[in-house]
C-alpha cells in the first residue's frame, strides 16, 4: 500500500506550493499517474480523503489524469502501446521494451481560492 505515502506527498507538495503562492483553500489538485508507475489511482483516491483532512486540501477535488504506457523496441525501434505485461515487441518479438511514457507520478496543477 505505497499509495498512502504517494498520496501524502500529493498533500505535502500541494500545501507547500499553495503557501508559497500566498495560501488559500485548495479547490482541486490535478495529478498525472502513469499506467506503468505501479500506483493504483483508485487507491490514491481512497487515501486522499484521510490524508487531506485538516489541511488546506480538505474537501478539495482530486483529478487524476492517467497516462497510457508507450514503449520502444530496443531492436527495431518500433514505438507501441504497452502495459505492465507487455514483454515482447509487437513487430519483431524482441524483449526488453524501453519505456518512453507511462511511469509518470506528478502533481500538475492546483486550483486555489
Amino acid at each position: 500500500m505505497h499509495e498512502l505515502g504517494i498520496t501524502q506527498s500529493i498533500v505535502d507538495i500541494a500545501e507547500r506550493t499553495t503557501r508559497k503562492h500566498g495560501g488559500g483553500r485548495v479547490r482541486s489538485v490535478t495529478v498525472e499517474i502513469g499506467e506503468l508507475s505501479g500506483v493504483i489511482p483508485d487507491a490514491v483516491e481512497f487515501c486522499f480523503e484521510v490524508c487531506s483532512k485538516g489541511t488546506l486540501l480538505e474537501g478539495a477535488r482530486l483529478v487524476i489524469e492517467t497516462v497510457p504506457g508507450q514503449g520502444r523496441c530496443p531492436q527495431c525501434q518500433t514505438e507501441q502501446a504497452i502495459d505492465n505485461y507487455s514483454f515482447a515487441c509487437e513487430n519483431c518479438g524482441a524483449f526488453g521494451l524501453e519505456r518512453v511514457r507511462g511511469e509518470e507520478l506528478r502533481i500538475k496543477e492546483l486550483e486555489v481560492d
Binding site: 500500500m1 505505497h2 505515502g5 504517494i6 506527498s9 500529493i10 505535502d12 507538495i13 500541494a14 506550493t17 499553495t18 503562492h21 488559500g24 479547490r27 495529478v31 508507475s37 505501479g38 500506483v39 505492465n84 505485461y85 514483454f87 515482447a88 524483449f95 526488453g96 507520478l105 506528478r106 502533481i107 500538475k108 496543477e109 492546483l110 486550483e111 486555489v112 481560492d113
Partner: protein, 248 residues
C-alpha cells in the same frame, strides 16, 4: 500576470475583458513536481555518500519467506573475514532478522516500518548512521518482504537483487514484473528442492529474460551450497570495481 486571478493577461493586450466583477473560479498554480521527488533526492544523496566511501550497496527484495535472511547469514559467514559487511534489516515488526544477522558477528541495524510496506531513502539515510562507513566494503539492505511496493523506491543502492525461491512457482516474474524489471540481479533460491517440486527451471529463466533481458541470474541453495561460489565471486568482483571507482 493579473494578481487577482492569476490569469496570464499581458499589459495592454487584455485577452478578455477584465473588470473583476466576474465570478472567479480560483487561481490556477502550475506545479509539475514529481511525487517521488523527495525520496529520489534523498536516494541521490545516499548514493553520493556510499560512493564516497567506496561502498557496494545492494537492496534485497522478495516475497516473505524466499530466504533472504538465510542467504545473508550464509554469505556473511562465508565472506566476513574477507570483506567488511553491514546489514540494514527492514521489517514491519520484530527484530528477529537483525538478531540472526548480529549472531554472525556482522553489524546489523533493524528498521521497523510499522504499517509501511517498503523501505524508503529517508529510513536508509538514518539507518546507516549506525555504521562506520569508512570501515565497510558492502552494505546489504534487506527490504520488507513484498514484491510490489519496494520496486518504486530508490534507496541509493547500486543494484536491486530480487530473490525468488522455487517453492513460489516459476511464473512470479510474470506476476510481479515491476519488481523483476527493477532488479539487476535475480537469485533463484532453494534449488536443492528441485527434485521434490514441479518447478520448471528453464521456464523460470525464460520468464525472467522476458521481463528483464539484462538481469544477471544466479541459481543457488544456501542449504546444499550449490551455486554459492558464483554468487561470492560476483560479490568480490563488485567490491573490487567499487573500490577502484572510489579511488579514481
Amino acid at each position: 500576470m493579473c494578481i487577482d486571478c492569476g490569469c496570464s493577461e499581458r499589459t495592454g493586450q487584455a485577452h478578455h475583458h477584465h473588470d473583476h466583477d466576474h465570478d472567479h473560479d480560483g487561481r490556477t498554480i502550475r506545479v509539475e513536481e514529481n511525487l517521488l521527488a523527495k525520496n529520489d533526492r534523498l536516494a541521490a544523496a545516499n548514493r553520493v555518500r556510499f560512493t564516497r566511501h567506496g561502498l557496494l550497496t545492494l537492496n534485497l527484495v522478495s516475497s516473505p519467506g524466499s530466504g533472504k535472511t538465510t542467504l545473508l547469514e550464509t554469505t556473511l559467514r562465508a565472506l566476513k573475514d574477507e570483506l567488511r559487511f553491514a546489514v540494514l534489516e527492514g521489517d514491519q515488526q520484530t527484530s528477529n532478522d537483525a538478531d540472526r544477522i548480529a549472531a554472525t558477528g556482522v553489524p546489523a541495524h533493524q528498521i521497523n516500518t510499522g504499517a509501511g510496506c517498503h523501505l524508503d531513502a529517508h529510513m536508509v539515510a538514518h539507518g546507516v548512521d549506525h555504521f562506520d562507513l569508512d570501515n565497510l566494503d558492502v552494505l546489504l539492505i534487506e527490504n520488507v518482504g513484498n514484491l510490489v511496493c519496494p520496486a518504486s523506491f530508490d534507496l541509493g543502492e547500486d543494484s536491486k537483487v530480487t530473490v525468488l525461491s522455487i517453492t513460489e512457482g516459476e511464473d512470479k516474474p510474470l506476476k510481479y514484473p515491476q519488481m523483476f524489471r527493477a532488479a539487476a540481479i535475480v537469485i533463484v533460491n532453494k534449488i536443492d528442492l528441485l527434485p521434490h517440486l514441479d518447478f520448471d527451471l528453464d521456464q523460470c529463466r525464460q520468464f525472467i529474460r522476458q521481463v528483464n533481458p539484462q538481469a544477471r541470474i544466479f541459481e543457488l541453495s544456501c542449504r546444499s551450497g550449490a551455486g554459492m561460489d558464483a554468487w561470492y565471486d560476483w560479490l568480490r568482483a563488485q567490491v573490487a570495481a567499487k573500490r577502484q571507482q572510489a579511488q579514481s
